[in-house]
Amino acid sequence: APKGMRCPTCGLAALASSTQQDVLKALAKQSILSKLRLPDRPNITQPVPRGALLTALHRLHAQHTDTTEPSRIPQDGGTPHPRPRVGLQEYEILSFAESGSSTSRSVLLHFRFTRDLSGSTEILQATLYLFWAVPGLGTHPVTVRLLQPGPTGLNATVTSETQLQVPRSGWTTLDVGAAVQQLFGQGSQKLTVELEVPEARGSPLLDDSSDSRWPFVAAQARARAAHRVRRR
């Protein structure tokens, strides 16, 4: 501290114990919110069921132990290359599906990503997890389309389409890194996934009552490095 100035914590010692506690709690709150880039604490209106959360964390952990080093998604959507180790703040994000309109042949799932990170964060990896409920024997063809809303929020465009042959019930993963990165790059937050079966066989997913098998997207993100100018 400059000569004659007080140190930042000097004032704290002069406060009464209860006031000291209040000041420190306020400081802790402010510190956490600012580091998470949140203007205030989020209001949770629809908490994710505990079963869905535990399943998602379990699957995410299993994926981490399978892959020693996560890969980085290149801008051109080409082959992933190893992620450089830098001291930037990193995030793992789980976005659970909100059900949209559905017919006997198709289901729409909406994934809403955090507006706090959009634009300032680089997506390193994103995986869609779907739990299939496949009745009977034999493989079942399913078309998975990734849709992004237009600038007005309407007129969604198909950004990718994948044909899957589902052999049995269970979890399937799909790389959606490029789509989510594109979404963040455009400052958008909503990814829509359409699942379509060829005939009217009913939904290929389990119904909403099976909480622990709720579809989700797991993304790894990193704060963008600030542009630095150095003078020597």
Binding site: A1, P2, K3, G4, M5, C7, P8, T9, C10, L12, A13, L24, K25, L27, A28, K29, S31, I32, K35, L36, L38, R41, P42, N43, I44, T45, Q46, P47, V48, L53, A56, G87, Q89, E90, Y91, E92, I93, L94, S95, F96, R112, F113, T114, R115, D116, L117, Q189
Partner: protein, 114 residues
């Protein structure tokens, strides 16, 4: 770093834990249950004005003597964090996504005089 004990008035680290239930944040922070914030407090006499790791250095010892004897030229020293570690959080964001992140430099592990 020295942890505060009794009524010591010298620079030390005081433990401070914020329980997320106490501040009504347990609904959006899933893990951990609280934040071991800790903070630095206490006096820093001029002869202690150096990072703890430098205290053994001959040059820093000489500098400290100069500072202590030349009070007019020296700046005041403060008790500040010298070692910190990240806080891992699992929380719901404003869109009900679940986010896990490590916030760097949030937990004070050691204190020393500047």
């Amino acid at each position: 770093g020295v942890d505060c004990s009794g009524d010591s008035r010298m620079c030390c680290r005081r433990e401070f834990f914020v329980d997320f239930k106490d501040i009504g944040w347990e609904d959006w922070i899933i893990h951990p249950e609280g934040y071991h914030m800790n903070y630095c407090t206490g006096f820093c006499p001029r002869h202690m004005a150096a990072a703890p790791g430098l205290a053994a250095s001959f040059h820093s010892a000489v500098l400290n003597i100069i500072k202590a004897t030349n009070a007019e030229a020296a700046a005041d020293s403060c008790c500040v964090p010298t070692q910190r570690r990240p806080l891992s959080l699992l929380y719901y964001d404003r869109d009900s996504n679940i986010v896990k992140t490590d916030i760097p430099d949030m937990i004070v592990d050691a204190c020393g005089c500047t």
